[in-house]
């Protein structure tokens, strides 16, 4: 007989928790069950023992992804089994090694736990906020003005894949619009504004400022951007540089 295996059940509903404990106790396996209702509870136990399986309700992870990542890094061999009672995003379900559904019967639950106890840990995706290499490739092409189709052609992937990459990029960065992503890319030095572009940006900005400031004067309203730069020296002389400090 091998030494007893440890399982954590993390579920806020007492009915489900007790039910699962009951099912597991009825198997012939030698299992030690720890029950808790929060991620913090799991954390305490992971520090103390080696845990074989963690049964967890995905709702506990929803707003705690960073904490969950820490748990993942602490217990690399532990398998995660989701307890599914409502609808969850596919993204979240992919984090688990297997899932048990609330309407699974006890035989299926036993089988799934048994299988996890014997099988080796598979590599799974973790919630990461850093862009992958491929996503950075897509981002670079995207912010330099390429359409989905052009990106697909250049990277030799389908437009559908490009769209998935874009979705993931937006999810990881929290930025959806292309203009916003461009700024993200510049800040993170994924793309470089060459000196020419920088010069242009400053130039346009000053010109626009002029136009806005003196909009009421017809000359400024209808004057092309590039002519407005003539007034730059005056602007520098007459604005009080200390007023913003």
């Amino acid at each position: 007989m091998s030494k007893s295996q440890k399982i954590i059940i993390a579920e806020s509903s007492e009915i489900i928790r007790k039910g699962l404990i009951n099912i597991i106790n009825n198997t012939e396996l030698d299992i030690h069950i720890i029950n808790t209702h929060s991620l913090a509870g799991i954390y305490n136990h992971i520090n103390k023992y080696y845990i074989d399986i963690i049964l967890i309700n995905p709702t506990l992870l929803l707003n705690n992804t960073d904490f969950f990542n820490e748990l993942l890094s602490k217990s690399k061999e532990t398998k995660w089994l989701g307890i599914i009672s409502t609808f969850f995003d596919k993204e979240i379900l992919l984090l688990f090694d297997n899932l048990i559904y609330i309407n699974d019967n006890s035989e299926i639950v036993k089988e799934k736990i048994n299988k996890l106890l014997t099988q080796k840990k598979t590599n799974k995706t973790s919630i990461r906020n850093i862009l992958s290499k491929r996503e950075i490739d897509v981002l670079k092409l995207l912010v330099s003005g390429n359409s989905n189709k052009k990106i697909a052609d250049k990277l030799f992937i389908s437009t559908y894949t490009v769209m998935t990459h874009r979705k993931n990029i937006s999810q990881k960065t929290g930025i959806k619009s292309v203009a916003g992503l461009t700024i993200y890319a510049v800040i993170n030095k994924i793309i470089k504004l060459d000196s020419y572009a920088k010069y242009l940006a400053v130039f346009f900005n000053i010109s626009l400022k002029y136009r806005n400031k003196y909009y009421k004067i017809p000359f400024f309203r209808y004057c092309p951007y590039y002519l407005l730069i003539i007034f730059l020296p005056f602007e520098l002389i007459y604005t009080d540089r200390n007023q913003f400090l």
Partner: protein, 243 residues
């Protein structure tokens, strides 16, 4: 935005308590044209004094307290005037005050930190403001006159304004979400743009952005849950009576 309130505002409450409960109500009063300095008057009496439908006032102010159940009640066609007035005034507030304030602050930030990133944020926000302006102008110039025309038709008045092809369905389609870019700029300012010596300006911008976002979300709720259903009802009635 504010968590403490979940009190339902009723017509017999004192207006002072309503504002203490949620200070954002100050902007709501302003848009309804109710002036401060109202002593111990109740919601109902103030609404009467200012010729606003109490029902409209209550349903809009309760939206600010995160209570949506109140919007199910039936509105008179008369009420639509005060709703439109409210929406118009909030448009004015967005364009003339809020966006201007944020643009000014972003320019201040740019003057402190003259990097290419801040220029881009500046441009980004300007572009976004332009989109919002387009949307608001569309509502002011096309949707509201259309609704006023419907109102006149039901009342039996003849109105020269004619736009037979237009319907509220087009308005629903036009309802693109302007929140997306707002979240983008918030994310950029909080998560990504490095902070140097622009602390106070950045804080002001962010506070303004959060307030604006909250206000816009309620604005959209008013349009979707209150305005559009009434207009749909009006259209149906006109079709029925073949006016």
């Amino acid at each position: 935005m504010i968590n403490k309130q979940n009190k339902i505002i009723t017509k017999d409450m004192k207006m002072f308590d309503v504002i203490l409960n949620n200070h954002l109500m100050i902007t709501v009063l302003e848009r309804f044209g109710i002036n401060l300095g109202f002593n111990e008057k109740t919601v109902d009496s103030l609404c009467h004094a200012n010729k606003i439908s109490t029902k409209v006032f209550l349903s809009i102010s309760n939206l600010y307290n995160d209570l949506e159940c109140i919007t199910d009640i039936d509105f008179n066609y008369k009420d639509i005037q005060s709703i439109i007035q409210y929406l118009k005034n909030s448009h004015k507030y967005y364009l003339e005050e809020k966006y201007q304030e944020i643009i000014d602050n972003i320019l201040l930030m740019y003057n402190i930190n003259k990097t290419s990133e801040t220029i881009m944020v500046n441009e980004f926000f300007k572009e976004y403001t332009k989109e919002v302006m387009d949307h608001i102008n569309y509502e002011n110039n096309i949707v509201f006159p259309y609704i006023n025309n419907l109102f006149d038709k039901i009342k039996g008045k003849n109105n020269k304004y004619k736009n037979n092809n237009y319907s509220v369905i087009d308005y629903k389609k036009h309802h693109n979400d302007i929140e997306e870019k707002l979240t983008d700029i918030k994310n950029l300012l909080i998560k990504y743009l490095p902070q140097k010596n622009d602390k106070s300006v950045r804080r002001k911008i962010l506070f303004d952005l959060f307030e604006l976002e909250y206000d816009l979300s309620i604005h959209q709720k008013i349009e979707n849950n209150i305005l559009i259903p009434i207009v749909e009802k009006m259209e149906l009635e006109i079709k029925k009576n073949k006016l």
